[in-house]
């Protein structure tokens, strides 16, 4: 079986402006939604109490809300979680009241209407922990960005490092944009997914850059644009197949992982789709505009044997 029988190089770079315009617009939209709507941060970041209770029959959320309102708690969110019988209750941290008191009060109030409810899960995070988690998350993001840039700068050249990071950070912003637009809950596992996607989709760019370097070496007469087109065309089947396989796994999580893994899998799905797009259409184009040339990658070598495996600069080709 073979999905990709591409005989001629696809002129990706001819349409680079259009591709970049699309991704720029998506990016701006994502930033806009991030600022206008903001992320719907989970209790882990904001501090507060989260309770998951299970009713024996489908729960009437209005009754639940009314019971909680009687306690005089403000800003309480009540929603279904997974099934109609499971209810998730989210409360902001109340001053002068411990988590224990808060969740027990609520449970007692709910038991008044239905004695059979079961407490499945509670989670309380103090405000100081929430701030720390947010800061740690940003630190982790910075660590990943800097680490990958250093690695790429050593392995290739700074122009590639910059191009790859811009392309993939724009994926991250777009994932966040989706979470802001749909007001999906942004929790710690989602953060983990975002960072994992960052590391994962950078290697797409790496594969293409490897091939660009290889082409510079092999086709001495070709223009930069042609070289990039050829590199992307040659690697596109592998790009789509690997991402497809990873997506199969993620899809399985989305289907079987239940409500807890839902947003985690969703973040991965968006990340994988835009990861393909940005690696194929954006990263190489940025590198092109930054002005990569043969001399950047093949330094001080006048004659080079094709695909010499002893050459420390010879990257892999696919």
């Amino acid at each position: 079986m073979e999905f990709f029988k591409i005989r001629k190089d696809i002129p990706f770079m001819k349409n680079a402006v259009a591709f970049n315009a699309i991704s720029f617009i998506t990016f701006v939209a994502a930033v806009f939604f991030l600022f206008s709507r903001g992320l719907h941060l989970s209790v882990e970041f904001t501090g507060g109490t989260l309770m998951e209770v299970s009713y024996s029959q489908a729960a009437d959320l209005n009754v639940v809300r009314a019971q909680i309102a009687k306690l005089g708690l403000n800003d309480v969110q009540v929603q279904n979680f997974g099934t109609a019988r499971d209810v998730m209750i989210r409360m902001p941290a109340a001053k002068g009241q411990s988590s224990a008191q808060q969740s027990e009060q609520v449970l007692a109030a709910l038991k008044e209407t239905d004695a059979n409810i079961q407490l499945r899960r509670t989670e309380f995070v103090g405000p100081q922990v929430g701030d720390e988690l947010a800061i740690d998350g940003l630190k982790a993001l910075a660590f990943v960005v800097v680490g990958i840039m250093i690695y790429l700068a050593i392995r290739f050249e700074w122009k590639f490092a910059v191009a790859a990071i811009i392309a993939n950070l724009h994926d991250v912003v777009i994932i966040l944009g989706f979470f802001a637009f749909f007001q999906w809950e942004f929790s710690l596992p989602v953060l983990a997914a975002v960072l994992a996607v960052l590391g994962y989709s950078v290697n797409e760019s790496v594969v293409i850059f490897d091939r660009i370097r290889e082409n510079f070496r092999r086709f001495r007469k070709m223009q930069t644009v042609e070289i990039i087109d050829n590199a992307i065309t040659a690697t596109i089947s592998r790009t789509i197949i690997t991402h497809g396989c990873t997506q199969l796994m993620v899809l399985s999580m989305l289907l079987f992982g239940g409500a807890t893994l839902h947003y985690f899998a969703l973040a991965l799905t968006i990340g994988i789709c835009f990861g393909i797009y940005s690696s194929v259409f954006v990263a190489a184009a940025i590198a092109m505009w930054l002005g990569i040339q043969r001399e950047d990658l093949i330094k001080g070598q006048v004659v080079k044997v094709e695909g010499d495996s002893e050459d420390p600069n010879s990257g892999a080709v696919v």
């Binding site: 079986m1 073979e2 029988k5 998951e52 411990s98 224990a100 027990e104 079961q118 499945r120 899960r121 509670t122 989670e123 309380f124 995070v125 103090g126 100081q128 922990v129 982790a140 993001l141 660590f143 990943v144 990958i148 690695y151 790429l152 392995r155 710690l188 596992p189 983990a192 960072l195 994992a196 590391g199 994962y200 290697n203 790496v206 594969v207 089947s237 592998r238 690997t242 497809g244 396989c245 990873t246 199969l248 796994m249 993620v250 899809l251 399985s252 999580m253 289907l255 079987f256 992982g257 239940g258 893994l261 991965l268 695909g307 495996s309 010879s314 990257g315 892999a316 080709v317 696919v318």
Partner: protein, 617 residues
């Protein structure tokens, strides 16, 4: 050209065998069990206890599947939860006659069903996190400023008595936060006081400043001592938590220090979370101070008038006000034990206190000087103080054994002893993070994680086999080996597996297949360009390697960042993610190459390779 040396196959076989061996315990599952461990330092779980348990079970008509004594605890495994609960009751009755003063903790637990020879080789199933097995997780913040304030307060008292002993006249000692201020009329007195303090209090550093007409000596706890105070405070709190949790009867509690001022408590399998929180949340500290019996104080006690300088008003539990001096004689730190009991002379209910050496010395001095006066034992919970008891000192008390008696019922004596014991926290603590997972949710989470991994795995291998034919089959086998090795490493390290960890497992399998796709695509490309099958395989593996390494390094950078900065669920994800990347390099490249070599390597005149469609331009 496509042959492996024998030693490479040996390495592969050994890796597989070790992997299979350590994965094995995961297949046996877990069985209900009762675990008996010592609740006190004096109690030991030994063969004698084992015999008592055996006979107790025999009288109850229960036969355990397994009875094992290891590392200070006795584990008894049963075939059903029913038998487990009956057995717990029987053992509880036999070993713990007095529930208020347990020598042993009898707790319900789950034990691996794996055979003894596996356990003997330290092969245990993966350690499941709380979100998979159910239980409670707490993070407690120790109030360090409070611990330091308390230390400063007791140092201020010590300075006062030292200066009195040395006959150095000062015009007042006061404490402002962690600063102790001593005022003097003239400079020479200050200097002599400074010398004395320097000699006797190594923990303090001092500065001198003029204060109007007087001279002020400001002493603060030096950084080394303050670090020591904090370390001791957190250690003592951990010990206290251990004792309190013993009351709960949890089989395998985890109580760990995190950072400089935090304690993490995990109680797997605990279902009565309210009680757990209640016991942990008892953030009480204990202080012994003198009661002010002056006429002024007496009148303030009865009316709500102004209290005399240097005293505070506290209420007894019956609502009676007591005026207590601010100076702290002893704190909970010096109290090693408190037990209810009876007065040996008149058989009245009493509480017996045991003090440490320093406490005993101070107590002796204080009681000698204050026979006939009253002292107050105060319990502070969340900043609010309450007088537990305010007995009259009848005689000088030496030796550190103190008895409080009179006007007390047995129940009150019990309560007081419990309060005093609970009060031996060095510094107050606050719960800053809490997670409770019901047991049914844990089981569901396991099923969800397991299904995600299984179905994802099936889908990917099915695709690979169809698309790449025999090479796809080999890639799938390599992927299975990756999963096997990952589970084996996790079991070996006993790293905590959580639901995000299971998600990472699925994700890492999806990413690991990337290496095989790279290789297979490259082999196809070589064939397309007209290479001979053998050299195509060789070139495919060789050239793909650098790319595989590159892509894994970038993924690993992200994984390490998560490991370094992540906490809780993110950490569980990161551990599996990083380990999975490492095992995937082994299985996807080294192992799959081994299989290919085994299959094709021998055939000298290889005509074709089963790798799906290879089209020619």
């Amino acid at each position: 050209m496509n042959r492996y040396a024998i030693w490479k196959y040996v390495v592969l076989v050994i890796a597989l065998l070790v992997g299979a061996f350590y994965t094995l315990p995961n297949f046996f599952g877990e069985a209900p069990a009762v675990q008996i461990s010592a609740a006190k330092a004096t109690a030991k779980v030994d063969l004698g206890v084992q015999e008592r348990v055996e006979s107790a079970l025999k009288t109850a008509g229960l036969t355990p599947e397994l009875l094992a004594l290891e590392s200070g605890s006795l584990k008894v495994r049963f075939d059903s939860t029913d038998a487990q609960i009956k057995a717990k009751d029987a053992i509880q009755q036999a070993l713990v006659p007095d529930a208020n003063d347990p020598s042993y903790v009898v707790a319900l637990n789950l034990l691996a069903r794996s055979p003894a020879w596996l356990s003997a080789m330290h092969a245990a199933p993966m350690y499941l996190g709380l979100d998979l097995r159910g239980g409670v997780h707490f993070m407690l913040q120790v109030d360090m400023p409070a611990a330091l304030n308390k230390k400063a307060e007791s140092l201020a008292g010590d300075i006062r008595s030292t200066l009195r002993e040395k006959n150095i006249r000062h015009s007042g000692i006061s404490r402002d936060g962690q600063k102790i201020e001593v005022r003097f009329r003239d400079m020479p007195t200050l200097e002599s006081a400074q010398r004395v303090i320097q000699e006797q209090f190594a923990d303090l550093q001092m500065t001198v400043s003029p204060d109007g007409a007087e001279f002020k000596l400001v002493a603060t706890i030096n950084p080394v001592a303050s670090r020591r105070v904090q370390e001791q405070a957190i250690k003592q709190n951990i010990t206290t938590l251990h004792n309190r949790i013993n009351e709960l009867g949890v089989a395998e509690p985890v109580i760990q220090q995190q950072g400089t001022d935090r304690i993490v408590v995990q109680l797997p399998g605990v279902q009565d979370t309210a009680k757990a929180k209640d016991i942990l949340g008892r953030t009480a500290t204990l202080e012994i101070r003198m009661v002010d019996d002056s006429a002024e104080a007496r009148s303030a006690e009865n009316s709500n008038g102004v209290v005399p300088f240097g005293t505070e008003r506290f209420l007894e539990r019956n609502g009676q006000a007591v005026i207590v001096k601010k100076q702290v004689i002893l704190t909970g730190e010096n109290l090693t034990d408190a037990q209810p009991g009876f007065d040996t002379q008149n058989q009245e209910a009493a509480v017996h206190l045991t003090l440490d050496a320093k406490g005993a010395r101070i107590f002796k001095d204080v009681t000698r000087e204050s026979v006939g006066k009253r002292m107050a034992i105060l319990l502070f919970e969340k900043g609010k103080g309450e007088v537990v008891t305010a007995p009259v000192i009848r005689s000088e008390i030496g030796g550190g054994r103190v008895q409080i008696s009179g006007r007390m019922t047995t129940v009150e004596a019990n309560d007081t002893a419990l309060l005093l014991r609970a009060g031996s926290l060095a510094a107050p603590m606050e719960i800053i993070e809490e997670r409770t997972i019901g047991p049914s949710l844990g089981a569901e989470n396991i099923a969800k994680g397991f299904n995600s991994v299984t179905w994802g795995f099936v889908a990917v291998t099915a695709f690979m086999c169809v698309y790449y034919m025999l090479f796809g089959v080999i890639s799938s086998v390599a992927l299975a080996v990756n999963l096997l090795l990952l589970v084996a490493v996790l079991s070996m390290l006993q790293a905590t597996l959580t639901l995000p960890g299971m998600a990472a497992m699925a994700l890492v399998l999806g990413m690991a297949i990337d290496a095989n796709v790279l290789i297979n695509e490259r082999v196809r490309e070589e064939l397309r360009n007209g290479a001979a099958p053998q050299s195509a395989i060789h070139a495919g593996y060789d050239r793909a390697w650098a790319t595989i390494l590159d892509s894994n390094v970038t993924t690993l950078i992200a994984g390490l960042a998560l490991l370094a900065f992540g906490s809780g669920p993110v950490r569980g994800f990161a551990v599996v993610h990083c380990l999975g990347i490492l095992t995937s390099m082994f299985s996807a490249v080294f192992f799959s190459r081994g299989l290919v070599n085994l299959w094709y390597g021998r055939q000298k005149k290889l005509q074709s390779v089963s790798i799906g469609t290879v089209w020619r331009a």
